[in-house]
Symmetry: C2
Subunit: 200 residues, 2 copies
């Protein structure tokens, strides 16, 4: 006899579509929305629509932007001959925070994963190769995550980019700053010895 | 030089308003929305507005409903002389799931908490007292959470309801089913001995 309220169920279902949100969290979020003011609820709904309609991919690097090109691709202060390949826009933000990198980016929007049906043509690899062919790129830094899928994607791109005469590098694996050598796994430690390495 | 996208920031800020959502989770959710289809984003926005506009408080028990009265208050099969007082609509759902309780409810929408500025008049205690005065209620079951604030709220309501000649009870504390006596704290164990108790 427990009453299920259709609007509440619907909202809970939408929250469940978010990464890492389970049944209980989704219900909690839906109840939070009920406690929002009318204005807050309207703002929330508008923020979702605005994010979806106003944000698109940069025509050069495929990073998210509100214009036709992102601020980084438009900047004359950046070195457009160095391209750093990352999995998603969050990686761009992470690297930008270091304030050390002055090149540009290429955002893949995923990694190759046959298990999850993500084939190379679902990523922006075609756009990357077109970029390498049409502009003077001297170095391609592969900064996908050091996971099985990230490594495989990096290897795949390296194999395609090497014949084009561009220098291809991979970010170094190593002991994280603040970490302890004693607790680093063997693979990480071995990689830490090697530093940034050339794979072509 | 990290580009902050205003629509993305705005959406992240909205997600942060949800209970238990921090900076990192909010950003992750906002990026999820970017990966939604246009239709999904529209559905999400509409679900928020619908939940806010279509769901209101039952005129009798203050539980959430889409009509004027909730299904439980409208049902002739329920015993309207037993009223179970709970903190929020989720507690109603939890009790309904047991399929054991045949009375009706009263939803407080919170607990008294002077620290957080929640005084008794912010809850639906006035509506509860009006209900006790105007209809034949034989038992009031106080089912607020067994926390400091839940207990204090139960005691406050008990003191107001007792002079009206209604039997006031409190749900039993005890060892949870599936739990182990060895690991139960002393207070819980002592309460488990007592079972449901009358406080007037």
């Amino acid at each position: 006899m427990a009453e299920t309220l259709e609007p509440l169920e619907r909202l809970t279902d939408m929250f469940r579509k978010l990464d890492g949100v389970g049944k209980k969290s989704a219900a909690r979020y839906a109840f939070c929305v009920l406690n929002f003011s009318e204005q807050e609820a309207r703002d929330f709904a508008e923020a979702i629509l605005a994010a979806k309609t106003e944000i698109r991919k940069c025509s050069v690097c495929c990073n998210i932007t509100t214009g036709e090109k992102c601020k980084i691709c438009e900047s004359p202060a950046r070195d457009h001959s160095i391209v750093c390949v990352v999995e998603d826009p969050r990686a761009v933000m992470a690297i930008e925070k270091t304030r050390q990198y002055n090149g540009v980016y290429h955002v893949l929007h995923g990694t190759i994963s046959p298990m999850r049906g993500v084939t190379p043509d679902k990523l922006t690899i075609r756009e990357l190769l077109a970029r390498l062919n049409n502009s003077a790129v001297s170095e391609l830094i592969l900064a996908t995550n050091p996971t099985v899928e990230g490594e495989a994607t990096a290897m795949y791109i390296a194999r395609l980019a090497s014949p084009l005469g561009v220098k291809v590098t991979r970010i170094a694996n190593g002991v994280p700053v603040g970490g302890d050598l004693e607790y680093a796994d063997e693979v990480t430690l071995r990689r830490a010895m090697e530093g940034r390495y050339s794979i072509n």
